[in-house]
């Protein structure tokens, strides 16, 4: 009964859109403030030279001429690095969860890695690696992986003893214990971690490409800055914001499905 009604709900496109927009928190107030910002920007642009504050028409004109290839390169780098970071993070978290001794060894290293500023990792990568793609991949993984690891480890440790004892009372195998309790229990934390890391990765990849790459949005921003093309800088910035918003849609969709019990 419930399953069929669930299926019906998710078969409705407007229902998915409404829920996703709800999750992204695009409310009436947000739309009003965005419109206000857009109008204010346009007014300021009328009284200032276009190389300082370009109008929306100039920015959109630049936007439609941007190279999609640079967007594609950046997105692929982010997705690949996040998937690998997530895999390594989960693996590390599970190992640390299962062995207190290993946790004692690994934990200080993770904290050390997290304490190093992103810009230092970018400089290290530029100095250490000549291969551009590996350089970017390294920076993203070294920044995002510890976040996944810490979030997943905390979530694993946070599974209540009451629930662990309840499952153990049925005497499950290790795999059943992980599949039926641990994995579903950490889903909320994992999804939150993905949201944080998506935003982090897009910001980090832009800086990394700006400093150490010959392709991608960061690199294109560097070129735009060298050409004093403020409109193009703004155009790329809008693209970055749109990428981040678009990336959150699938996460929000998964969240609204997997965490339906919380709604």
């Amino acid at each position: 009964m419930g399953k069929s009604s669930e299926a019906e709900d998710w078969a409705k496109p407007e229902s998915i859109a409404a829920k996703t927009l709800g999750r992204l928190k695009i409310g009436k107030e947000a739309i009003i403030s965005l419109i206000f910002f857009g109008v204010a920007w346009q007014i300021v642009s009328l009284f200032t030279p276009s190389y300082i504050v370009p109008g929306w028409q100039v920015i959109f004109d630049k936007m439609i001429r941007l190279q999609p290839y640079q967007i594609y390169v950046t997105v692929v780098r982010v997705v690949l690095a996040l998937v690998v970071s997530f895999g390594l993070g989960v693996l590390g978290a599970v190992v640390m969860y299962l062995s207190k001794k290993l946790e004692n060894y690994i934990s200080p290293l993770v904290k050390l890695v997290m304490a190093v500023p992103v810009i230092c990792w970018i400089l290290f990568a530029v100095l250490w690696f000549s291969a551009v793609e590996f350089r970017i991949f390294f920076i993203l993984v070294i920044v995002c992986c510890p976040v996944f690891l810490i979030d997943v480890l905390d979530a694993l440790k946070g599974v209540p003893k009451d629930l662990r004892d309840m499952i153990l009372s049925f005497r499950p195998s290790k795999m059943q214990y992980i599949r039926k309790l641990l994995l579903p229990a950490i889903v909320p934390a994992v999804l939150t971690s993905w949201k944080i890391n998506l935003s982090l990765a897009i910001r980090v990849v832009t800086i990394a490409e700006l400093v150490g790459a010959v392709s991608g949005i960061g690199f294109a921003l560097n070129i735009a800055q060298a050409n004093f093309s403020v409109a193009e800088v703004f155009a790329w910035t809008i693209v970055l914001i749109l990428i981040l918003l678009a990336a959150q849609v699938p996460v929000s969709w998964v969240e609204s499905k997997a965490l339906r019990w919380r709604l």
């Binding site: 009451d162 629930l163 499950p172 059943q176 039926k180 579903p184 889903v187 997997a258 919380r262």
Partner: protein, 257 residues
């Protein structure tokens, strides 16, 4: 024939910070026979839950012996798979699973086919008056309903022994009373051995056909047989209640007729 054998059982905890030793169970000895419904009554913190944890195999005794169906629950953990069901004080339902999915979790662990899981879980939930709530999440159910799901979860694996750890303690009296009646009916109709742990004397007397009184730390202060006819006589119940209360207050073993 005893299905649960407890011999000189002792459990001592060592506190992490002070290294002080705390005796939770002190020389506990008794047997429980098949099909018996036994209430274990004792003050809060007397080691009742520790005893249940040892009985479940979740904790190891410091010394002594405890056997369930001829096996030691901690050492032979997997050999008691499917033989013991437990209902905890809190329902301990998984919030991301619907009522039916929570109910069938034990069946999943035991390897029943998906069809059999759904069939048995639905039957138990229906039997416990939740036919219209099979697909409800725990957050959509009342406390009493959630505890019914927990009861269905424990019973649907068809265990030989069912343990209840103050299972109705946090419910209002009307709900708790109804659940106690339902539970007794189910236990008697399915001929289970039941161990019901509580700190409430009335509840212990209502449920058990035998009452074991625990001291603090856990040791047997009294072991009382309660005949079914006894439960119809309010004056006898009242006298028994007072006597158990005296035993608990003195924390000394007293012979009871």
């Amino acid at each position: 024939m005893p299905i649960i054998k407890v011999e000189a059982l002792r459990k001592v905890y060592v506190q992490t910070i002070s290294s002080a030793k705390v005796v939770a169970i002190d020389n506990l000895t008794f047997n429980i026979n098949e099909h018996e419904v036994v209430s274990i009554v004792g003050q809060t913190g007397c080691g009742k839950s520790t005893f249940l944890n040892i009985l479940m195999g979740l904790e190891q005794p410091t010394s002594g012996k405890l056997e369930v169906d001829g096996k030691e629950p901690y050492k032979d953990f997997n050999s008691l798979k499917g033989k013991i069901g437990i209902v905890f004080q809190q329902d301990r339902l998984l919030p991301w699973r619907r009522a039916i999915d929570n109910t069938k979790i034990g069946l999943e662990v035991l390897g029943y086919t998906p069809e059999e899981q759904i069939k048995r879980a639905s039957e138990w939930l229906t039997r416990l008056g939740l036919a219209n709530f099979l697909n409800a999440y725990p957050s959509e159910l009342s406390g009493g309903m959630r505890q019914r799901v927990a009861l269905a979860r424990a019973l649907c694996i068809d265990p030989k022994i069912i343990l209840l750890d103050e299972a109705f303690g946090h419910l209002d009296e009307v709900t708790a009373s109804k659940l106690r009646k339902d539970f007794l009916e189910l236990v008697h109709s399915t001929k289970k051995t039941a161990v019901f742990v509580t700190h409430q004397l009335d509840e212990a007397i209502e449920i058990g056909n035998r009452i074991i009184v625990f001291g603090k730390p856990a040791k047997v202060l009294a072991d009382i047989k309660v005949e079914p006819s006894f439960k119809d006589d309010q004056s006898k119940i009242q006298r028994l209640r007072q006597e158990i209360q005296q035993i608990l207050d003195k924390n000394q073993p007293i012979g009871l007729e």
